[in-house]
Amino acid sequence: MKAAAFAYTRPAALADALRAAGRDARFVAGSQSLGPMLNLRLAEPPALVDVRRLPELRGARVEGGRLHLGAAVTHAEIEDGAVPDTTHGMLPAVARGIAYRAVRNRGTLGGSLAHADPAADWVNAMTVLGARCHIAGPDGRRVLPVHEFLQGTYRTALGPGELLVEVELPAFSERMRWGYYKVAAKVGEFASAIGAAVHDPALAMTHLLVGAIEARPLLLPPFAGALELAGDAAIEAFGARIAAALPQADAVFVHQHATALARAVARLRAEGAA
């Protein structure tokens, strides 16, 4: 299928882009999600505003230990270390597991978050990292925690004409540790289950994430000994909590997600030992 007709502009600056978009246009960057939707005519916006090259969306810097990544930074740039990393390797590792290299060359961090597919890697990785989303729009700028930015399957807090411009991570300490595990039928596919864990004693942060659940990611309330669990005991303990939080989930769903989280925790622990 071919896309329905649309107007296309590529403004040079953020202010121009916001003005050009008005309230009806869609922003487009890497086009790895929107492109297929346009071609399938699942989306028929009257106009596209290309923000792929906006300087305001292409930056990457560390300020006060906090990493700021522009929304149009590509998966490949994160994978390749072309932008700074304050997560002890988590961001490049997650990037490396996204789809295929051809997708990573074009797809962007912000595009992935704004598309809000529950099985997408950045949706889950940024949630477990406790990222904040910087939004610009016709009524000015605002900042939301990613867990509020994401509202559900393909739903975000972005209003008409609003654009995600930057993602900001907490100032992780040297003692920050992470684990991320994806269950997928094959390499490059969207995950059927994602488990992720981040622990930073300096920030008093212990995040246990259950992702790819057809809703925004689930952060399990931390519990004593969670990071020490291993093997079948870990799957059982996490499974019980997942089943309680997601009562509609069947046994396979719970087991895959519990396994993903157990393996993420195991990786976090292995990293700490290394």
């Binding site: 299928m1 071919k2 329905a4 269950v183 094959k186 059927s192 895959q256």
Partner: protein, 788 residues
């Protein structure tokens, strides 16, 4: 065999890859014509319904068409002479009733595809829904036939019913199982594509089609359009894969050809991936209920089977719904001996896209059922699955051997291929490796499958399936040119098989010319002699045989001219290095070509006037097919917490008779195996209870990818066929036949301790994990029983 290094058996790179790998292939989407219109179809959103209204906005008159506009065009009607077969009329655009989601109802044309889709988007036909036949069960239960004049929902039922009385007292076990191979899409890299235009100069309708069978498409189009064959030319340019998908006449092909006649402008339609997944023909969906009667050692005495094929809404032309069913009843016994055989196969009409042959044609299904059954028998009698196979396989000493289904096996040592894959996987040491892995919490399994690949089966076989077009002789034209290079023209089509190389190798073998002096031309009914085309692993045998025969005749004529030019005795000359040598003279093929075409004064007046262009036709003396064979072996590791299966090792020992190009055989074998791995683990075209397709993009329909592939190791043996020129057998389909069985057998071995057994493809992580979790729960609930 001659000493030249580009003949039969040479490992040479594929000639066609030079253009294909450098992006210079010419596919239908690459063609450009002035005033070209692009077409898009309005397709039924419901599985079954009556078209109540189909209004065309006034401004679209002349650019949107429906069946009512196509007066005089006949529906695609795939007839069969088999008794009881019920015929379906498949109109190019739905004739009042739609019978599957995706069925073309109207077509729009515009200068670009996007604009054509805009026009389609403005159509809103109203369709009164009818109850859908979503699967075999509901179709068999329904009292309302899908097609007018039918008595039930069976295209065809085939039956074989031996008396089992002779087995009395010898049967130790009756092993019963049900198997299911789910529905698939075929996914060639290039979808279907058609471009048609009227050529005033030639007074012909020229139809470019992405097809495997240009000559047959020509016949089918002529029938539907009522055009004389002489006014129809079909050209298949580069075709990006076929696998069986492109061996049928498709309704879109008829519609586009008709539009070109109607509009007097070139019209093109290129199938997109969504159309392919939703509306394209499907394949593979078989269900089996089987009972194997065996003795205490697992020797197969008799086999009973009931088989159902979900044949979809229409019978495809020319292969019909009879091909798959016929292949099932004929190939289910496989390479095994048995005394009696009882089998019923039903081709059932449902509200799904039509079913068409796909690489392996029914044999992946029957081999899956039979090879899973072999392992089930082994478990029942307590022997190793390989031992049970050796107990039952037809052996080299038995050859030639006519099996229970009257398949005439020509040559081969079937057990040796199994021995070979066992060695390649170190079968003897596997139990120890498995036990060591188990200590680390890893679950390893090993599995095997053995099969025969009937190839190049001809007239008698296809006639027995009652098809509207039955293959007979295949033609080849060879022409020695004035500069001593050779043109080879064949009616088959090469779209991944490497035949521009392998057929040139056969010509090289016969003429001693180097490959670069030989040009193979195919895919144009205006230029090539008739062949029914490329399918059924037939082309290297049929076209290869025709090329060989034509070259032999041509070289006979060249020899006569060489003797005339050299003024010597023809019998004294030997053909070597592109020249006739001996008796103190050397006359090259170039000398001969030049003399014949440009300098006839060099020839004596009395020289034979047959010329240097030869067309010959060929079919093997025995036309029931030649039998390639192979065994596959797989080692898998199963992740019992995610349900994923990793292929640790995969080996194939195959024999396709004389190898024309071992690298091409490897490529065909690996390509087939990858598709078989797709069947085993990934590919499924699911439908809901309303017969709505649930996979319309590759996000939902999973194909195997490079990351999932093990390094496939292949061993060859060469047992020539006595029936064919050069002893060649076919090999295009074989790789796809065995992987589902080899892999699922391996998984079942890996998970034996859980008591689970998988008999359905694809074995998805979800299916696997559901069964393992249920088994673990049951074990946890009954620990005492396990201890006992």
């Amino acid at each position: 065999m001659s000493e030249n290094r580009t003949g039969i058996g040479a490992r040479v790179l594929r000639k066609e890859d030079e253009r294909l790998l450098n992006g210079r292939g010419r596919f239908i989407d690459d063609l450009a014509f002035p005033r070209l219109l692009e077409a898009a179809f309005w397709r039924s959103p419901v599985a079954h319904g009556r078209i109540a209204r189909l209004d065309v906005p006034a401004d679209l008159a002349g650019s949107v068409f429906a069946w009512r506009d196509m007066a005089g065009v006949r529906p695609i009607t795939a007839r069969s002479t088999l008794p009881g077969y019920q015929v379906s009329d498949y109109a190019a655009l739905a004739d009042g009733v739609v019978r599957f989601v995706g069925e073309p109802v109207a077509v729009a044309v515009a200068p670009t595809r996007a604009e054509a889709e805009d026009r389609v988007a403005r159509l809103a036909p109203s369709i009164d829904e009818l109850p859908p036949l979503a699967d075999v069960r509901s179709a068999l239960a329904s009292r309302t036939p899908l097609h007018p004049g039918w008595k039930d929902n069976l295209f065809i039922e085939l039956k074989r019913d031996d008396d089992f009385a002779a087995l009395e007292g010898r049967v130790a076990h009756v092993v019963r199982r049900e198997f299911r191979m789910n529905r698939q899409s075929m996914s060639p890299m290039e979808g279907k594509a058609v471009l048609a235009l009227w050529d005033d100069q030639r007074n012909q309708l020229v139809v470019y089609s992405s097809t495997q069978v240009p000559h047959m498409i020509r016949s089918g189009l002529a029938e539907c359009l009522g055009l004389p064959l002489a006014q129809l030319r079909v050209i298949a340019p580069d075709v990006g894969g076929g696998f069986g998908y492109k061996c049928n006449l498709m309704p879109e092909e008829v519609a586009i050809a008709w539009l070109a006649l109607k509009l007097k402008r070139p019209v093109r339609w290129v199938e997109d991936r969504r159309e392919h997944l939703v509306a394209g023909t499907n394949c593979r969906e078989h269900q089996y209920r089987m009972a194997a009667h065996v003795d205490a050692r697992g020797r197969l005495l008799g086999l009973e089977a009931e088989v159902w094929v979900d044949s979809g809404a229409y019978s495809v032309w020319p292969f019909t719904a009879c091909l798959e069913t016929g292949q099932i009843i004929g190939n289910l016994p496989g390479p095994y001996k048995m005394e009696c055989y009882r089998c019923t196969v039903q081709g059932v009409a449902t509200n799904k896209p039509p079913f068409s042959p796909y690489r392996g044609v029914a044999r992946p299904g029957v081999a899956f059922a039979m090879e899973m059954m072999m392992d089930a028998i082994a478990r029942t009698v307590g022997r190793d699955p390989t031992a049970v196979r050796f107990e039952n396989l037809v052996t080299a000493a038995d050859m030639p051997y006519t099996n229970i289904a009257r398949k005439a096996f020509d040559t081969g040592d079937y057990p040796s291929s199994l021995t070979r894959v066992m060695e390649m996987l170190d079968h003897a040491g596997f139990a120890q490796r498995q036990a060591e892995a188990r200590k680390e919490g890893r679950y390893l399994g090993i599995g095997f499958a053995t099969y025969t690949e009937q190839a190049a089966h001809g007239t008698s076989v296809f006639a027995s399936w009652g098809l509207p077009i039955v293959p007979g002789y295949d033609g080849a034209t060879v022409k020695l040119t004035a500069d001593g290079t050779l043109e080879v023209k064949v009616g088959v089509h090469s779209h991944g098989q490497g035949m521009e190389t392998s057929l040139a190798q056969i010509a090289s073998e016969l003429t001693t010319l180097p490959l670069e002096a030989i040009n193979v031309i195919h895919g144009d009914t205006g230029e090539t002699p008739f062949s029914t085309g490329t399918y059924a692993s037939r082309s290297i045998v049929m076209a290869g045989g025709a090329v060989s025969k034509a070259c032999e005749v041509l070289m006979g004529r060249a020899r006569t001219l060489a003797a005339a030019l050299g003024k010597c005795d023809a019998a004294a000359l030997r053909l070597e290095g592109g020249a006739f040598r001996g008796a103190g003279v050397t006359v090259s093929l170039k000398d001969i070509g030049e003399a014949w075409f440009h300098r006839p004064e060099r020839l004596p007046a009395a020289v034979p006037d047959g010329g240097l262009e030869v067309t010959e036709h060929y079919k093997p003396a025995v036309d029931t097919g030649v039998f390639s064979f192979a065994s596959h072996g797989a080692v898998v590791e199963v992740d019992i917490d995610t349900g994923n299966v990793r292929l640790v090792d995969y080996v194939i020992a195959e024999d396709c008779g004389t190898l024309v190009n071992p690298m091409i055989v490897d490529g065909q074998t690996i390509g087939g195996a990858v598709q078989g791995i797709g069947t085993a683990l990934f590919e499924e075209m699911p439908y809901d209870a309303a017969a709505q397709p649930l996979a319309s993009t590759y996000a939902d329909y999973l194909l195997p990818g490079a990351s999932e592939m093990p390094h496939i190791r292949i061993a060859h043996s060469e047992t020539p066929s006595p029936h064919t020129r050069h002893g060649i057998k076919g090999v295009g389909e074989g790789g796809a036949i065995a992987p589902p069985a080899a892999i699922l057998n391996a998984v079942n071995r890996a998970l034996a301790e859980f008591g689970v057994e998988f008999n359905e493809t694809p074995l998805t992580p979800r299916r696997l994990l559901a069964a393992v979790l249920a088994a673990r729960r049951a074990r946890a609930a009954a620990p005492l029983k396990e201890a006992a």
